[in-house]
Symmetry: C2
Subunit: 123 residues, 2 copies
DNA sequence: TATTGACTTCGAGTGGACTCCAAATGCTAC
DNA sequence: GTAGCATTTGGAGTCCACTCGAAGTCAATA
C-alpha cells in the first residue's frame, strides 16, 4: 500500500504518518526499489495501533519507548511497565472526564430550565 | 486571597492563573488599592471551574467564549450550545479512552502471560 | 517531450497552552 | 533603610505534536 492509501484507510495525513515513522513509531516500513513506501500488514498494524493510542492521548514519548523495546528481546517487563503506566494515566483522565461531564450535564439542565421559563414568559 | 493562596488551593501555578485571567477565563478579579489581586469567592469559583474544564481537555477557546457570554444577558441559548458541544467532545474522548484502555488491558494481560512463563522456565 | 501528480527528504513553521523573564513596586523584618 | 521576598505588567520563550515548504525523483499521460 502507498502512503496515500494508508492515509485514507486510517484517516491520518501522509505527513503525520511520515512523521510517526521518522520518530520511530512505525518501524520497518518496507520500500520499493525506488524508495517509495509500500506498507505491509505489519506496518498497517503499527499505524492503527499508534492512531488508537494517540487518539486516547497517550504521549508520543511513551510510544517511542515502547516501540523501541518491542524490537529488543527480554524487555517484556519494561514494555509492560510502560503500558501499565499509560493505563493509569488514561484511568485518571477517564475520571476527570466523567466528573466534568456530570458537571456539564448539570449546567446544561440548568440552562434548559432557564430557557424553558423564558419561553413561557414570551407566550 | 492572594494569588499564591489560590495557586496552592487549586494546585495551579500563579503564572497559569494570571494567564487565565489575562485571556478572559477568570473575570473581574478584585484588586487591593495597591493593585494586588485579592480573590473573592466568585473568582475562586471561576478558577475551580476552569481548572475542572481544562483538566478534562475542554479547549481554552471554548471557555473564553463561554465566559464572555456569561456577562451578556440573553445569551443563555448560546452558552448552552457551547456546553452541549463540549460535552459531545468529551463523550467522544471518553469512548476513545475506553476502547484504548481495553486494548491496553489485553496487552498487559498478554505480557503477564509471557512473564509468568519465563518465570517458570527459570525455576 | 512536456506536464501532471504522487512520492521522497530535510528542515522550518505553526498552534495551543502554558511558562518564564525583566523591571518595577510593595510589604515585612531586622 | 535595606534585605529579602511576593506581587505586578508585558513580552518573550518553551514544549508538544504535528504541518508545511522546498527541491528533487519518478511514472503515467497528452
Amino acid at each position: 500500500m502507498t502512503i496515500k492509501e494508508v492515509s485514507e484507510k486510517y484517516d491520518l495525513s501522509a505527513d503525520t504518518i511520515r512523521y510517526y515513522e521518522r520518530i520511530g513509531l512505525i518501524p520497518h516500513v518496507p520500500r520499493k526499489e525506488n524508495g517509495i513506501r509500500d506498507f505491509d500488514e505489519a506496518s498497517c498494524g503499527w499505524v492503527e495501533f499508534i492512531k488508537c493510542m494517540r487518539g486516547a492521548g497517550v504521549q508520543v514519548e511513551a510510544l517511542i519507548d515502547y516501540v523501541a523495546l518491542f524490537f529488543q528481546e527480554g524487555t517484556e517487563a519494561a514494555r509492560k511497565d510502560i503500558l501499565v503506566e499509560q493505563r493509569a494515566r488514561l484511568q485518571e483522565q477517564l475520571e476527570n472526564l466523567q466528573t466534568t461531564m456530570q458537571r456539564l450535564d448539570y449546567k446544561i439542565s440548568h440552562y434548559d430550565e432557564i430557557l424553558k421559563c423564558s419561553e413561557k414568559l414570551k407566550s
